[in-house]
């Protein structure tokens, strides 16, 4: 894993600003540290050597105070800006991730949707400690360490050489320790996970053990497991802390060596006290950011891993978008439509032939897993085809559905409606959800779908507020009633294609009849209705029933039919 992934800078503008800012603050901090070291040495040395009184060194003390105040301000700025820049960066990545994921094909989302949700809701938040803790220290290491080292080299070559030689040993030894202990640590880690889940397993089985009168004995088992867990953890830690110990030991030993070597040369006057003190104060500061990087490393890995998974999603190619305006179509013609089912080597649906016409209800039937929902998604342009074609037939020929635009007033979605099983509302009222500008049109549509009866039964009628979320259930509407609400909305919007996902699933017989009537009413009004259906009542009400089947995938040599 790279300590600073360039893709992070590419995808999140705030991260770029933040890195520049943190680098500037690091330069400031470096200057403050160096100035402090000089100021302390210049305040102390003349007094020690009996060359000066307090008034003589007051300027140096003043400079020190200035450096301290500057450093205080820089730390304050770093904390204030760091936190908000980190949150902004996470926000940009989350936005990009969700924007991309919502444009991916339906089938991809079925497979990866849960991962994306976990990344967006929890995973990416782990980037905050990386951005506020690890990255600034990394930059400080990159800026302060070399600059301070050059200063020491200029002041005193021998001390500088000691530091310059020991400094690379730190990452070298950490790497060596890491490499030699990795297998061991991985084994320990696996043992830890195993023991941890055994403990949870005993807790989960507590009721069962009680039912068998055997709950008290396992208390001892919990203790034994816990002790084993503790011993394994300690073994892991003994190894895991080694790299940190090497870092600390090298840093403190190098500082000690510098002190002794300066001391010995001071005796013979090879170096003056001011220089000696400056180097002594600067030496630990050179190792400090490196030590902090080591300490923050573990806290940063989760966030980096989450960012990496996000970049992998962002690199997935989006389906091609069409550009042509939708023609005045009279029929939708599906020929040999197939969609690959993940990596599972078959098409679901496969070799699907159908004709969808305005004024007709077309039912998609078939076993579960045959690809009914995916077939519906291809009609909605939410799932590209791997095989076959869907053509829009019109008076002067036919257009491939894949070539027409989706968004915009001339796009496919402007004349299609999708009614999922659980309708989601976004607040507002029944009237605003239906979205009619003319009450007469609205009432006619509502009368056709049976929504008018529902509205009449509600005390606030059309002004009944809808909850935000799925089902609008807290608004007091049943599942069947929300289906009719959604169908009314489709009618009012003048959709030419209305696709429904099992609208009568889970409905009682009376509600089912009402929804079936509403579906027929939408077709009568001139829309092409496609409905995924299981129940006999819904299938009986359809003009055509198309059976969706899965088929073996075409040979790998067969390229997908070009769009």
């Amino acid at each position: 894993m790279k300590p600073l992934d360039p893709r992070l800078l590419r995808h999140a503008r705030s991260a770029r600003t933040f890195v520049v800012l943190a680098a500037l603050l690091s330069v400031g901090a470096t200057l403050a540290v160096i100035v402090s070291a000089f100021a302390i040495a210049h305040a102390l040395a003349p007094v020690v050597e009996g060359r000066a009184e307090l008034v003589d060194v007051l300027p140096a003390v003043g400079v020190l105070l200035g450096a301290v105040l500057a450093r205080t301000g820089l730390v304050w700025l770093r904390e204030r800006l760091g936190q908000s820049a980190a949150v902004a960066t996470v926000g940009e990545l989350r936005g990009a991730l969700l924007r991309h994921a919502t444009r991916m094909p339906h089938r991809w989302r079925v497979r990866r949707g849960d991962d994306v949700t976990v990344l967006a809701t929890r995973g990416l938040d782990d980037l905050v400690p990386y951005l506020t803790g690890y990255l600034p220290q990394l930059l400080l290491t990159a800026i302060l360490t070399p600059i301070a080292l050059v200063v020491v080299l200029r002041l005193d070559l021998i001390s500088g050489v000691i530091i310059a030689v020991t400094l690379p040993l730190v990452p070298l030894f950490m790497w060596l320790v890491g490499v030699t202990t990795r297998t061991y640590a991985d084994e320990r880690l696996a043992a830890l996970t195993r023991q941890g889940s055994q403990l949870l397993d005993l807790l989960a089985g507590l009721t069962t053990l009680r039912a068998l009168g055997r709950e008290i004995g396992p208390g001892r088992r919990v203790r034994q497991l816990g002790d084993a867990y503790r011993r394994t953890t300690m073994q892991t830690l003994r190894v895991a802390f080694l790299s940190g110990a090497v870092l600390e030991l090298l840093a403190s030993l190098a500082v000690a060596l510098v002190a002794v070597e300066i001391g010995m040369r001071l005796v013979y006057g090879h170096i003056d006290l001011t220089t000696g003190l400056t180097v002594l104060i600067l030496a630990p500061e050179i190792y400090l950011p490196l030590r902090a990087v080591g300490a923050q490393f573990h806290a940063s890995t989760n966030g980096l891993a989450a960012a990496q998974r996000t970049f992998e999603v962002l690199q997935e190619p989006l389906p091609a978008a069409g550009t042509r305006p939708v023609p005045a179509w009279t029929r939708l013609h599906l020929t040999g439509v197939g969609v690959r089912a993940g990596d599972r080597g078959y098409l679901a649906p496969g070799n699907l032939h159908a004709v969808v016409e305005p004024g007709c209800v077309t039912a998609l039937a078939g076993a579960s897993g045959a690809g009914k929902t995916t077939a519906a998604m291809t009609l909605l342009r939410l799932q590209p085809l791997d095989d076959g074609a869907i053509r829009l037939e019109h008076d002067d020929g036919s257009t491939d559905l894949a070539d027409v635009a989706t968004d915009g007033p001339d796009g496919w979605w402007a004349q299609t409606s999708w009614v999922p099983q659980r309708v989601a509302t976004v607040g507002g009222t029944i009237a605003s959800h239906v979205g009619a500008t003319d009450d007469a049109i609205r009432d006619a549509a509502a009368a056709a779908t049976g929504l008018l009866d529902v509205v009449a039964s509600l005390p606030r009628g059309w002004d009944t507020p809808l909850a935000s979320g799925e089902g609008g259930l807290s608004s007091g509407l049943s599942v069947g009633q929300t289906q009719r609400l959604e169908l009314t909305r489709a009618l009012v919007s003048g959709s030419r294609l209305v696709v429904l996902d099992e609208p009568t699933a889970h409905l009682a017989a009376r509600d089912e009849a009402a929804v079936v009537d509403a579906v027929r009413a939408v077709a009568r009004a001139g829309a092409a209705v496609v409905v995924i259906a299981h129940r006999p009542t819904m299938l009986a009400a359809a003009d055509r029933v198309v059976t969706v089947r899965s088929t073996p995938a075409p040979e790998p040599t067969t390229a997908p039919v070009p769009a």
Binding site: D201, T207, D272
Partner: protein, 569 residues
């Protein structure tokens, strides 16, 4: 957001359950102090060495200091390694004790509160909470104690040379050790609430964008929902910015305190040197030593944050144990019930078996599902309870087994109330197999031993045969020693395994919930018939089932959920 005082109180409430050993805590604090003391000494002796060297004394006068500097450098590195290990060791021991105490508290607790634990998230959270309480030792208590020891030690060391400088250092360390962490802990409650709310809003908007992607795209609301997510993120960022304010002030103040101690010491100590009360070498020590001393107070803001997190975990654990209705006992005065020892053979039964009079049962907080029930299951007889789902068969069974309190009437088992039976006593009377009984993530044999610790392999094989699992065990790579879990066995296998587990129990009365579920009807009927035939061996059996094919083999049948509810013999 709770105050520091409340956090301390709530953490202290669970500390006895950690059973921390004084000697080990002292060792961790001592090693931690040694690390930082070596660091402080390294600075002090190095300063002395350099200043003294500048006075060009014979080199032999410097040798001790030169060795000292190097020694402290090594001690610091080695001791850092040891102190981290010691602190983690103390914490892990505490976690083991706490986990055992939580387990035992729940094991003695009320059934319905324990039943909630089966939910994966509650279970996982309990595991994390226990670890979080343990972390307060490593990140909270030990660093605080070390900071106190090292800070005061440094002040005393400086006071030996210059009392005035020591006062300056004391004042600055007090700011670093008290004001800085308190400032970090000071988040105002409203900002914290807003922060949590804003985060929830962002999470909800994200989830809905993915879950409703198709819906939003077709209805043209995708862009507006993405914009809504953006607004929620703005609010979240604002809230985070406000929450970061005291933290930034705290971090800045820590830097200021360190710097101020050097400036202050210079201003106080330089005149002391000129006045002749302080030597040149002492001046060097007094000025440079504070830089290292502040290393001790650096982890304190993180300690306060950890305290806050641990307190939240401690509150959940306390609530869980209180809900289980048991004051969990501290580890050292645990009663050690020897139940891993071979289960005692059932006491010869003199009692009348299972008797219920005027029994009403209900899940706590719900309406009774069965009322005014009278039944008798004398030793060596069987009873089948049948009825449609949702009529309270399981609740009745749990009440008969003493896992739930009757809401009215009485249940007795050989004259005692089954609710009062614990551990081995219970095993001597009754074994209950619920429908959702747990399959442990261990071997087949150990899963059966969950019912009886001294079960032999032969007995296990026989029980598995009886439950119709002989062929299944043969297909397993390591036979009885094959590890299994709830996820790796099928519904039917699981059901039979639970029956086998009930069979190996020595309890004279077996209560089984739906033993034929997930099995083909004829197989289920045969299994139920086999179970009912156990009465021939002198055991009593109560079976809840909706497979009515075999129930006529039972000595009595109780039909519930219908108008009459009396046993038909």
């Amino acid at each position: 957001m709770s105050t520091l005082r409340e956090d301390l109180r709530d953490v202290r409430a669970v500390l006895p359950l950690l059973g921390l050993r004084r000697a080990l805590v002292a060792r961790a604090v001592a090693l931690g102090s040694l690390t930082l003391a070596a660091s402080v000494a390294l600075s002090g002796v190095a300063a002395w060495l350099i200043v003294r060297a500048s006075q060009a004394p014979p080199v032999m006068f410097l040798n001790v200091a030169a060795v000292g500097v190097r020694t402290f450098g090594i001690v610091r590195g080695v001791s850092r390694y040891l102190d981290r290990l010691a602190a983690h060791d103390v914490a892990l021991r505490g976690v083991v004790n706490l986990r055992t105490a939580v387990y035992e508290g729940l094991a003695r607790g009320r059934t319905e509160s324990v039943a909630g634990l089966r939910r994966g998230d509650v279970l996982a959270r309990t595991g994390v909470d226990v670890d979080d309480v343990g972390d307060v030792v490593v990140r909270g208590l030990v660093p605080a104690a070390v900071a106190a020891v090292v800070s005061l030690g440094s002040v005393v060391a400086v006071a030996l040379f210059s009392p005035a400088s020591a006062l300056v250092l004391l004042a600055c360390l007090a700011v670093g050790a008290l004001v800085v962490p308190l400032l970090a802990a000071r988040g105002d409650a409203r900002a914290e609430r807003e922060r949590v709310q804003a985060r929830t809003d962002v999470a909800t908007a994200s989830e809905s964008l993915v879950a409703r992607a198709a819906d939003l795209a077709v209805s043209g609301r995708r862009e507006s929902e993405l914009a809504a997510l953006g607004r929620a993120q703005e609010r979240s960022a604002d809230a985070e910015r406000r929450a970061a304010r005291p933290l930034a002030a705290s971090a800045a103040l820590a830097v200021l305190a360190t710097g101020a101690s050097v400036v202050g010491t210079l201003l106080v100590a330089v005149p002391a040197l000129l006045a002749g009360t302080l030597t040149a070498t002492e001046l060097g020590v007094v000025v440079l030593l504070p830089l290292a001393a502040f290393e001790a107070t650096a982890p304190l803001p993180a300690a306060v944050t950890q305290l806050h997190r641990s307190a939240a975990a401690a509150r959940r654990i306390t609530a869980l144990l209180a809900d289980a209705g048991s004051g969990a006992t501290a580890p050292h005065d645990r009663t050690t019930a020897p139940t891993t020892a071979p289960a005692p053979t059932p006491a010869p039964r003199t009692g009348p078996g299972l008797v219920a009079d005027g029994l009403a049962c209900a899940w706590p907080g719900h309406a009774p599902v069965v009322t005014d029930l009278h039944l008798r299951v004398p030793p060596g007889t069987s009873l089948a309870i049948v009825g449609p789902s949702g009529t309270g068969k399981t609740t009745l069974l749990l009440t008969l087994a003493g896992m739930l309190a009757p809401s009215a009437g009485t249940v007795t088992l050989d004259g005692t109330e089954p609710r009062l039976l614990r551990g081995a006593e219970r095993t001597a009377h009754v074994a209950l197999t619920t429908e959702d009984a747990h399959v442990f993530t261990t071997t087949v044999l150990e899963n059966l031993r969950a019912a009886r610790g001294d079960l032999t392999r032969d007995e296990a094989v026989r029980a598995l045969e009886q439950a119709g699992l002989a062929a299944w065990v043969e297909t397993l790579p390591d036979g009885l020693d094959t590890p299994i879990s709830g996820e790796t066995v099928s519904g039917g296998e699981r059901r039979r395994l639970l029956v086998a587990r009930a069979l190996v129990s020595r309890a004279p009365l077996l209560l089984l919930d739906e033993p034929g579920e997930h099995l083909p009807t004829d197989v289920a009927d045969a299994l139920v018939a086999d179970l009912l035939a156990l009465t021939a061996l002198g055991r009593s059996v109560v079976v809840v089932t909706h497979h009515t094919g075999a129930v006529d083999r039972a000595d009595a049948v109780l039909r519930i959920g219908t108008t009459t509810m009396s046993p038909s013999t």
